[in-house]
Structure formats: structure tokens, C-alpha cells
């Protein structure tokens, strides 16, 4: 059997002591940078590129891949402990994960995130190994009309992110969409809302925005009320999930894995939606939607699984087409080219050891991550006991380093400070930052795909209805709207979304 032979080749390659070492270095580094707020996988991989010159191509790619999914594991740690998401996926984890931490359940939240990530990583690695080529064919059928309709589904569902007033949540989504408009119009080159500042010509930096409205705003709130944090530390109970937690997390992990794997395959921005989509689904089908936003186990387990599954399957377009689905993949392609391997549709046949070695290393890396992370949870939770007057300057320093390292641009630091103040103001008004970030992420994609679809159809909006996948997605969006508006369900919803 071909697949079996290939997997044997892959594991033989990935399990050589040399490659195991680099896999280990990769996941350790990834976990570290994931834990340090603001420093992302992209910046780290960019910094490490020169070192990879000296390594075997397979080893260097195994290491870089390890950094990437290691960072996905580690990223949830800061989101849960200090409400500081470093990327869009962990912004969702912060909603319920941080609330769990505030209830003294930081350890359980971290374990749930790690277990969910491991399960999702395992399943999606198998998916990559078995179905990469046919899945690629499906992904290529997604043109701009399909992406537009997909983003509509995402936007319609975004109201589920709110656990306070729905009107305020919608307001935050719109504000996010508007912030997403800053930058250069890609179709005409016209600068928009850049206030004459050259640094804004490519738009606001996501990391700066997220660190500002979530992390810095939270620090300001904590400084205002030190009492809250004392509660958080004193109430630390068990580090591991209880039997009840296991019962609550199993189904969300399974669903999150499916959602994340499916969205991760789409190179045009599907993976971004993975954790948001999972959160929405969990909240919709939950018997206790009122728990969401107050520390629901499903609100951590589902999105974390979805996010990790999406991270793994986003390797598919790179491995089968040589096309990067995100900036990290672009860097890995750069690393391959520097090594003399130009990635393209034939990598699997021309470089079987490389191709299958990377796939096998993903599973090995995931295994290493869970073995590494579970024992570390106790340590992370102890971090919370550091006096806040020592902790918060360190957090701010690391954030600044991290945000600066994204573009080597001082302007981004001003943006962090500015959005920290904005985020503080929003918190005072009881407006939540998660819908704002979703709007910010989806807005530019929505516009880009809408306008591109219209250009290609020469102005005929029927293109969204004539294409079956797009039509299906729009019907799904309509169904979600109907569910939201149906009177009987509305009654229930009103109970859920009352202002607290």
C-alpha cells in the first residue's frame, strides 16, 4: 500500500535522532514564543531563517513547522492567564479561558486547551496524510464568490460572540469592520483613512490592535482594581479537568476538530474563521448558552481544537500546491527555496522524504507538545502569584518587543498604546473586544472578495447565487439569521443576552 510505505518513509525520516532533536527545538521555541505575549511565529521564523542555511532541508522545515504549531499551543496560555491573545485564533480562547482563570480554574483551562489541541492535531495530521490531494482539489473550487459568502456566514454568526448586549456587539463588529478599512485600497491604490501616515498605508497591525484592546486594557483595569486579581490567585483550585469537565469538553473537541480541519484547507483565509466558527457552534447548540463568556468549558475546548486543526490542515495548500495560506507558510516556502527546493505541485513526488517527513513530524511534534505542556501548567499558573506590580511591567515590555518584531516599526508601539486606551474605554462601556477583532479580521477579506467577485462577473451580483457552493453558504447564513430572529428562540435569546 502506497500510503503505508509513504508513512513508513515519513516516520523513518522524522524519527531520526537528528530530526527529532530539531522537532523538539522547534516545539520548545514555539511554546516559548507563544507564551511570550505579542511575539508571533512569523517574527521568530523570520529571525531563524539564517540558521536554517546550515541545516538539512528536512530538519530545518521540521523545526520551523514545530515553531508554528508550538506557538498555537503556547498562544492560548497568555490568552487564558492574562487575557493577552497574540493572534486572532487565541482571541476567542481569551473570552472564556480568562474567565475560567478568574474563577481560579486557570489550570483546568490550560489542560483543556492542551488536550483539545493534541486530539485535533492528531486527527488533522491523519487528514493531511490521507486526503491532501483530493482536499486540494476542493479548496481550488473556492473562488472569490465562495469566500465572500463564507465571510457572510462568519459575520452573521458573530453576534454569538457577545455575552452582553447584542446591540453593543453589533456596534463592535461594525467598528472592527471600519478599522479594517484603514490602509490602501488594493483595487485602485487609493489610501484610505491613513491620516497621511505612511505606516498606515498597509492598514493597522493586527497584533498591535489585539494586544492593545485585550491585554493593555486588561492591565489598566487590573491596576484600577487590584482586588479582582487577588481573588483570581487565592481561588486556584485543581490543575486538572474534573470528571464534569471531561464530559463537557469531549463533544466540543470533536466538533472543533471537524470545523477547524475543514476551514484550514482553504488558502484564502478560512483558517481565520476556525476558532470563531467553533465558538459560535458551541454556543448555539449548548443547553446553557448563558455560561458562555463566564468561563464555559466548551468555549475553550471547541475553539482551541478548531484552531489547532486549522493550523495543521493549512499545510495542505503549501505541500500540494506550493502556495502559502498564511505568512508563516510563505516563510517556510522561502526557507525551502533558500535550501534549493522550489515548492510546487510536484514536491510529494520529487521529495518524498521531505514531504512525508514533515507530515510525520507534525504528529510527533504534537505528542511532544502535550508531554511538554501538561507538566508546565503548574508552573504557568504559579506565574499568576507573582505580585502584579512586578508582572505587569514585564508583560508590557514583552508585548512591546513582540509587537515591534512583527514589522520592525516603532509606529506599531504607538498603536498598542492608543488601542490600549480605546480598549479601556470600551471595557468601561461594557463593550467587548472579541467581536471588534472578528470584524477587523473579516472586514478586509469581505471587501476584497466581494469586489473581486464583482470584477470577475463584470458587475453581475447573480454570481453569488449561480455558483452552488456560494449559494449553499448564503443559504446557511440566511438560516442562521432566521434562527436568530425566530420568535420562540428569540425569547430564549433575550434571556441570554440581557445586560448583566
Amino acid at each position: 500500500m502506497d500510503l503505508l510505505n509513504n508513512l513508513v518513509l515519513g516516520f523513518a525520516t522524522a524519527a531520526s535522532p537528528y530530526n527529532l532533536l530539531f522537532c523538539f527545538i522547534g516545539v520548545i521555541l514555539g511554546t516559548l514564543i507563544g507564551v511570550l505575549p505579542g511575539i508571533g511565529a512569523t517574527a521568530t521564523i523570520a529571525m531563524l531563517l539564517p540558521i536554517t542555511f546550515q541545516l538539512e532541508p528536512v530538519s530545518s522545515l521540521i523545526m520551523l513547522a514545530g515553531i508554528y504549531y508550538g506557538a498555537q499551543y503556547g498562544g492560548s496560555t497568555t490568552a487564558i492567564l492574562i487575557n493577552m491573545p497574540g493572534e486572532s485564533s487565541s482571541a476567542v480562547t481569551a473570552i472564556d479561558g480568562y474567565q475560567m482563570a478568574r474563577k481560579g480554574r486557570a489550570g483546568a483551562a490550560l489542560s483543556i486547551a492542551a488536550i483539545g489541541s493534541f486530539f485535533a492535531g492528531t486527527v488533522s495530521t491523519i487528514l493531511v496524510a490521507v486526503f491532501a490531494p483530493p482536499l486540494t482539489a476542493v479548496a481550488l473550487r473556492f473562488g472569490s464568490p465562495e469566500y465572500f459568502s463564507l465571510m457572510i456566514v462568519g459575520l452573521v454568526s458573530s453576534v454569538a460572540l457577545a455575552h452582553g448586549s447584542v446591540v453593543k456587539a453589533l456596534g463592535m463588529v461594525v467598528l472592527g469592520l471600519l478599522l479594517g478599512l484603514v490602509g490602501t485600497d488594493i483595487y485602485t491604490g487609493t489610501p484610505r483613512f491613513n491620516l497621511g501616515i505612511l505606516e498606515l498605508s498597509d492598514g493597522l497591525n493586527f497584533v498591535a490592535l489585539a494586544v492593545g484592546v485585550f491585554g493593555i486594557a486588561e492591565i489598566l483595569r487590573n491596576l484600577e482594581n487590584e482586588h479582582d486579581r487577588d481573588v483570581m490567585i487565592k481561588k486556584v483550585t485543581n490543575l486538572w479537568p474534573t470528571r464534569q469537565d471531561w464530559k463537557e469538553m469531549t463533544a466540543p473537541i470533536l466538533r472543533g476538530t471537524v470545523i477547524g480541519s475543514a476551514l484550514g484547507i482553504l488558502p484564502g483565509g478560512g483558517a481565520i474563521l476556525a476558532s470563531f466558527a467553533s465558538y459560535t457552534v458551541e454556543k448555539r447548540i449548548s443547553n446553557t448558552p448563558g455560561e458562555f463568556g463566564k468561563g464555559a468549558v466548551a468555549g475553550v475546548a471547541g475553539p482551541e481544537s478548531a484552531n489547532n486543526a486549522g493550523a495543521q490542515t493549512s499545510f495542505i495548500p503549501m505541500l500540494t500546491l506550493g502556495i502559502p495560506a498564511n505568512p508563516v507558510m510563505a516563510l517556510m516556502i522561502g526557507a525551502m527555496i533558500i535550501q534549493g527546493i522550489v515548492p510546487g505541485p510536484n514536491v510529494a513526488t520529487e521529495q518524498p522524504a521531505l514531504f512525508w517527513g514533515i507530515i510525520a513530524s507534525m504528529w510527533i511534534g504534537n505528542l511532544m507538545l502535550i508531554l511538554l505542556n501538561l507538566p508546565l501548567i503548574g508552573l504557568w499558573v504559579k506565574l499568576l502569584t507573582i505580585p502584579y506590580y512586578m508582572l505587569f511591567p514585564a508583560i508590557i515590555a514583552f508585548c512591546s518587543i513582540g509587537v515591534y518584531s512583527v514589522n520592525s516599526n516603532v509606529f506599531d508601539l504607538y498603536a498598542v498604546a492608543f488601542f490600549g486606551l480605546i480598549g479601556y474605554g470600551l471595557a468601561k462601556l461594557r463593550c467587548e473586544p472579541a467581536p471588534l477583532l472578528l470584524g477587523f479580521v473579516l472586514g478586509p477579506l469581505l471587501e476584497e472578495h466581494l469586489r473581486r467577485a464583482m470584477i470577475m462577473s463584470r458587475g453581475d451580483p447573480m454570481t453569488f447565487l449561480n455558483r452552488p457552493i456560494s449559494l449553499g453558504l448564503l443559504l446557511l447564513a440566511a438560516a442562521v439569521l432566521v434562527v436568530v430572529l425566530l420568535p420562540s428562540i428569540r425569547k430564549k435569546r433575550d434571556e441570554v443576552f440581557v445586560e448583566d
Binding site: 490602501t184 522561502g334 533558500i338
Partner: protein, 325 residues
């Protein structure tokens, strides 16, 4: 701390292989080479290959720093403002010349803000289409495109990108405006070309060679003077009747205005040596390009290239009427 650690590790790694670090005078410490684009892209790749080879020769590490944004003008303006001591350099491509017209307001004066080190390479472009596109050769393509101008879509990777420039040139050569579809970068544009969502594109061989060889897209011509070793079956545009389409994405190394001539000369000599490195020649060949000659890899060679290219692209861009600011 991590950044410090990694740069220390990188320095150690480079120092190990470079061996003798006993350079006299310049350079006495590491040099920063700014790439005005994201890490991992084609220009970044060229820079890292050349920087690694030049580091060995100079005995000091050249650190590649990616300062992306605003079509490369952010990175260029940062270097224009840097100290002219030879420790900050810029590796930029054809965009250095085209942004002089694409941007009506630039924070630096393209022709007077820099000293020149030399040309690095000239990457040819390929005219490619989705794999089931009807025409069989470039002549057929031109006829087909002219006959179906209202149905054809032409992709590019955003305003100012190589594919945008080449697309403008293609339309002006065949005197037929087409519906252009901009993307955010080459990746998504190529994805849509592979999926058949868009019909045509003209892009650097760095991005297209593997896809052409893999049979996932169709190639109609290369914009170089000679056929490429990497793609021997693809005719040149001149052979196929479009001699005006000869265009390349040339890359050059610059230093801030006022950098001493001895320094740029020394760097230029080091660049010439790097470009004869068999490793670089092999990697460049895989990307479908060749290193610049000794005559081109000089301050004078780059200066005249920049000046002639600013002049060449001005009317093309003004005719298209699309500006980046």
C-alpha cells in the same frame, strides 16, 4: 531576550562558517541589509542568498532585516534616512524605479537619495494562463485575447507588483485593455490561476517555474532575451512576436547618500565575488535567473539602470493612470 538569543545564535553560526573575521577597516561590525518586503518572498530569498555569500567574503555578518510596507517605499525611506556609514544597505527591485512614478509623494528623492553598490540579478517574467486556456501559443493568445477582450481576466499581485507592471506592459503592447484583477500578493493570485478562477497572469519565474513544469498552468512566453535553461520549451516574447515585452525584475543594492566611495567599491567587489559563488549560480538557475555580470554589479551599472528604468516606466504608468497614493 529571545531576539537577543537568536541573533547571538545566528552570529555564532555565521562566525563558525566564515572563519576568519580579521577584516581591516570597513566592515568592523555587522551590516544591516534592509529588504523592503516580507520575509519569504522572492526578493527576500535573493537577498538572503547574496547576503550569506557576501558575509563570508567581508568577514562580517550581513543581517537581513525585512521592513515591508507601502510597495517597498517604507524600507527604502528608512535606508535613505540612515547614517551613510556603510552599515545600512538596501536591496530593492525594479520597484525602486517604478515607485518614483507610482507614488506622487515619496519621502525621498529616488534618483538623489542613494549611493549605488551594484545590480544583483534580473529575474525574467513569464506570461502564463490557467491550464485549460484555449490558445496554444503566444500568437494565438494575442489573437484570442483581442477577440475576447471583454471576457478575459488578468491577475496581478497588487499595485506596483512585478505582475502588475508586466500586465500593464502586456496590455499596452497588444493595445487591448483587459479586466485586471488585483490580489494581495502572488500566493492568492496563483491560487486562483490554478483553480481557473482567473485567466491570465504575467509573473516572475521565481513564482511560476515549478507550476509550469508541474503542468498546473500554461506558459506562453518568457520576457528574457534568451530562452531559459529551466524552461527550454517556452519561447521568448521576441521569438513569438512581442519584442516590446522584454522586461525583467532587476534587483540592486543601495546605500544612503553620502556613503564613502571606498565603502561602496568594497561592497561592489564583494557582490561580484558572491555572484560567482557556484551555490548562488545554482540557486539562481533554479529560480530561472542568472547573476549580473561584473560590469553590471558596479555602482555605475546600477545607476544607469535605475535612471533608464525610471524613464521607461513613467509613460507606461501614467498611461494606465493608476497611482499607489
Amino acid at each position: 531576550m529571545l531576539k537577543l538569543f537568536t541573533s547571538l545564535a545566528a552570529t555564532a553560526a555565521i562566525a563558525l562558517i566564515s572563519g576568519s573575521a580579521f577584516a581591516q577597516g570597513y566592515p568592523e561590525r555587522s551590516i544591516t541589509m534592509v529588504v523592503p518586503f516580507a520575509a519569504g518572498g522572492p526578493t527576500d530569498t535573493v537577498t538572503r542568498l547574496v547576503a550569506e555569500s557576501m558575509s563570508k567574503d567581508l568577514g562580517q555578518q550581513i543581517i537581513v532585516e525585512n521592513v515591508g510596507g507601502a510597495g517597498g517605499t517604507l524600507g527604502a525611506s528608512q535606508v535613505a534616512k540612515a547614517d551613510p556609514d556603510g552599515y545600512t544597505l538596501l536591496l530593492h527591485h525594479i520597484g525602486m524605479a517604478t515607485s518614483a512614478t507610482l507614488y506622487r509623494k515619496l519621502p525621498y528623492d529616488t534618483l538623489n537619495a542613494f549611493e549605488y553598490v551594484g545590480l544583483v540579478t534580473d529575474v525574467p517574467m513569464t506570461i502564463v494562463a490557467k491550464k485549460d486556456f484555449e490558445p496554444t501559443d503566444l500568437k494565438g493568445l494575442v489573437e484570442y485575447v483581442k477577440a475576447n477582450a471583454d471576457k478575459i481576466t488578468l491577475a496581478n499581485a497588487g499595485i506596483g507588483a512585478a505582475s502588475h507592471l508586466c500586465g500593464m506592459l502586456f496590455m499596452s503592447e497588444i493595445k487591448t485593455p483587459l479586466t485586471t484583477v488585483p490580489y494581495k500578493g502572488t500566493g492568492p493570485a496563483m491560487t486562483d490561476l490554478l483553480g481557473g478562477q482567473v485567466d491570465l497572469m504575467c509573473d516572475q519565474t521565481t513564482n511560476t517555474t515549478k507550476q509550469i513544469k508541474g503542468g498546473t498552468i500554461k506558459a506562453y512566453g518568457v520576457t528574457s532575451a534568451k530562452r531559459l535553461d529551466a524552461l527550454p520549451d517556452v519561447p521568448t516574447v521576441a521569438e513569438a512576436g512581442l519584442p516590446g515585452m522584454q522586461v525583467g525584475i532587476w534587483h540592486g543594492i543601495y546605500a544612503p547618500k553620502g556613503t564613502p566611495a571606498e565603502v561602496t567599491q568594497k561592497l561592489s567587489g564583494s557582490l561580484q565575488k558572491a555572484l560567482k559563488d557556484p551555490d548562488i549560480i545554482a540557486r539562481f538557475a533554479e529560480l530561472g535567473t542568472v547573476p549580473s555580470t561584473d560590469a553590471e554589479a558596479t555602482p555605475a551599472g546600477l545607476k544607469s539602470k535605475l535612471e533608464s528604468e525610471v524613464t521607461r516606466w513613467k509613460p507606461v504608468i501614467e498611461a494606465a493612470g493608476q497611482y499607489a497614493d
